[in-house]
């Protein structure tokens, strides 16, 4: 029967092509593995310990009490210090905490004079810095904090009430003995402050967003548009890069080499067209995001353009590298799909990187996607400017140059 013959030939061809096999079987396994590790936190029944930076600007009794109570909780990892530029461990500053909130999602600030204000019965507030992109962590931290504070307050009131009682007893005793007995504490003062605390109610916990532009609460588009833009730029550039291989297969590359032009011109021409197409792709996606979905483009259009340009640059480089490492166009296609899907899962195209385990966040930065997404988050979620994306820009340029050099070195012209 003819269809059996045809099926058999096709199965043989498909199973004989190792790159085809990679794409069919290995790629899904790798992507499933990466995605499962990434999302392990969401499904793991044992609770996750999360890090909470604490900026302790007050070292009074109450402040210390709060910090030590926080430390007793096994669900939290409390960080009060950081490394300074000289490599010394110093207390965390508010500025550092604001940055940390982008990955830890919440931080606690104990303001200066907090303990004194509490002691004097004045209004005192603890600040919870929070990243509004995350709905869970900041509210968990606020809840825990208010429980601790309530506990301290109750304890405090009880102690004060007892002292009050004692001092009343001392006063009664003084009346009996006929001369005033000295009491170490000033009963009048204690009475006043206890009253004040009870009257003013609890200590306040104040939420404060770390996003500088409060007018623009981030939507899902803020991370989906760049995420998918990066992924599809990678698809575009790798398929375009592979067209160098189809020119090799069709013989036009050979013909081009017989012309009085340099190899750099041939590669350079290919590169430029791939790069321009990638830029167009990104431009259209962001334009649709803006015009159709009303996505906010951040506070720095220059930064956004720069980031798109360097992302397109390194994506183009990766496309050329894939072409250089492949013998045929179909090999390049298989390799591209493997690399792109893995990078997207690992690098944060599909979900924000902060939800993946810490070790994986670090590991993710072998992909250009992770660097690019870091930059887009700085611009589009946190509303930061050019300086915030410099690490990403630098990393992407270095990666791009590296990819190009290896591609030029490894490309087989014959």
């Amino acid at each position: 029967m003819a269809w059996i013959t045809i099926a058999w030939k096709d199965i043989r061809l498909q199973l004989g092509d190792w790159v085809g096999l990679i794409w069919l079987f290995v790629t899904p396994i790798i992507v499933i593995t990466v995605a499962s590790f990434a999302l392990s936190g969401l499904f793991n029944p044992t609770y996750q310990v999360f890090t909470v930076p604490v900026v302790q600007l007050d070292h009074g009794k109450v402040a210390n009490q709060i910090v030590s109570n926080l430390r007793k909780l096994s669900a939290l990892h409390i960080e009060t210090t950081a490394m300074n530029g000289a490599g010394k461990v110093v207390p965390l500053t508010i500025q550092q905490a604001r940055t940390k909130v982008q990955s830890d999602k919440a931080a606690i600030v104990i303001p200066q004079g907090f303990s004194r204000d509490v002691a004097n019965g004045k209004q005192a507030a603890l600040i919870v810095l929070q990243d509004p992109t995350d709905k869970v962590v900041p509210s968990v931290v606020s809840n825990i904090l208010s429980k601790i504070v309530a506990g301290i307050q109750l304890h405090d009131i009880a102690v004060r009430a007892e002292i009050q009682g004692e001092s009343n007893a001392v006063a009664a005793l003084s009346a009996q003995v006929g001369h005033p007995l000295r009491f170490r504490l000033n009963p009048a003062q204690i009475a006043r402050s206890s009253q004040a605390i009870i009257a003013h109610g609890q200590l306040r916990i104040q939420a404060q967003s770390v996003i500088s532009d409060a007018a623009h609460t981030p939507s899902a588009f803020q991370s989906n548009v760049p995420g998918y833009a990066v992924m599809f730029m990678l698809f575009g550039t790798s398929f375009a890069g592979a067209s160098l291989l189809s020119e090799k297969e069709s013989g036009t590359l050979l013909k081009l080499r017989s012309l009085p032009i340099r190899r750099v011109d041939i590669i350079g021409g290919k590169l430029s067209s791939n790069f321009i197409v990638a830029l167009l792709q990104a431009a259209i996606l962001f334009a649709v995001g803006r015009l159709v979905f009303g996505m906010w483009l951040g506070n720095s259009l220059a930064g956004l353009c720069l980031l798109i340009i360097v992302t397109a640059f390194s994506a183009t480089g990766l496309g050329m590298l894939i072409a250089a490492l492949s013998k045929t166009r179909s090999q390049a296609t298989g390799l591209s799909i493997l690399i792109i899907l893995t990078s997207s899962a690992l690098g944060g195209s599909w979900w924000p990187l902060y939800i993946v385990p810490h070790w994986m966040q670090t590991f993710a930065h072998i992909t250009l996607t992770a660097w690019s997404m870091d930059g887009f988050n700085q611009l589009l979620v946190y509303g930061n400017g050019l300086s915030a994306i410099l690490p990403s820009v630098t990393a992407l340029v270095v990666m791009g140059l590296l990819f190009f050099s290896i591609a030029l070195w490894r490309f087989r012209w014959d």
Binding site: S250, G251, T252, L254, K255, R257, L259, P260, R262, D414
Partner: protein
Amino acid sequence: MSMEEILETRGLTKRYGNLVAVNEVDFTVREGEIVGLLGPNGAGKTSLVSMLAGILEPSGGQAFVAGMDIVRDSARVKQIVGFVPQDLAVYPELSGYQNLSFFASLYGLKGRERAERISDVLDIVQLSGWAGKKVRTYSGGMKRRLNLAVGLLNRPAVLLLDEPTVGVDPQSRNHIFESIKNLVRERKIAVIYTTHYMEEAEHLCDRVAIYVDGRITACDRPQDLVARSGGQTITIGFDGELTEDVLASLKGLPNVSNAVVRMNSLELFTDSAVDIVGTVVARLRTVVQPTSLRVSGASLESVFLALTGRSLRD
């Protein structure tokens, strides 16, 4: 005819691993001359021509075009060499005109000059009427003609044609031949023409190089090759199986330059058929039954067989 030599190879060699595709080839081509490289599949024709076109690095030896080393002066050599690859090298999704325009630009041609060149080469390959159509819609022969046109764009001083007429119908082929001859006559260009078609070589080429296993066994005017080979072929048909030792003994006869068996017929190349035909038939009779006998004058084909022991038409 004392023309200037425009192309020369000295010990030119190409190896692919252990395989020697081009084996220390020495030959020269003069201005205004068409030299045919006649050889069977796998002889190394494409390898040799690719080195001259600057797209394949020689493994050894040297070659010069207009006195310039093909490796060291590669860029300048490429300016004056036109290369028509054996495999089609045009973009199917572009029109014929767009293809030509693209390649012409890479030769640095602009504006009116480019347009003139393009219409010039379109005339030569008779594709002017199709220039605006996508190459994807061309017939196989038309694609070949476009492929040839691309190689003519830079008005080369040396034209390398690697089997350019495979699949081209006789009429178009004749037209291409006439055009090439005209170019050679008018512009004194030199042409290297690889082919495994005997008639093409005989018809078109001023000189023919017999090229087998990466070596040029003989290179001369077709008529001189034929004359020099001694000139006669004895063809004997037979029934039965001819043994190796009998064939060897026939080859060893005086005046016999070579002998080959094809199907059930023996071909023997000799200067003097009359002197040996009796002996040959007698020896054959010891093992097989001769059924027919024919003696003919030499042809390029018989020369090729005599020199290489191989046929071009297997």
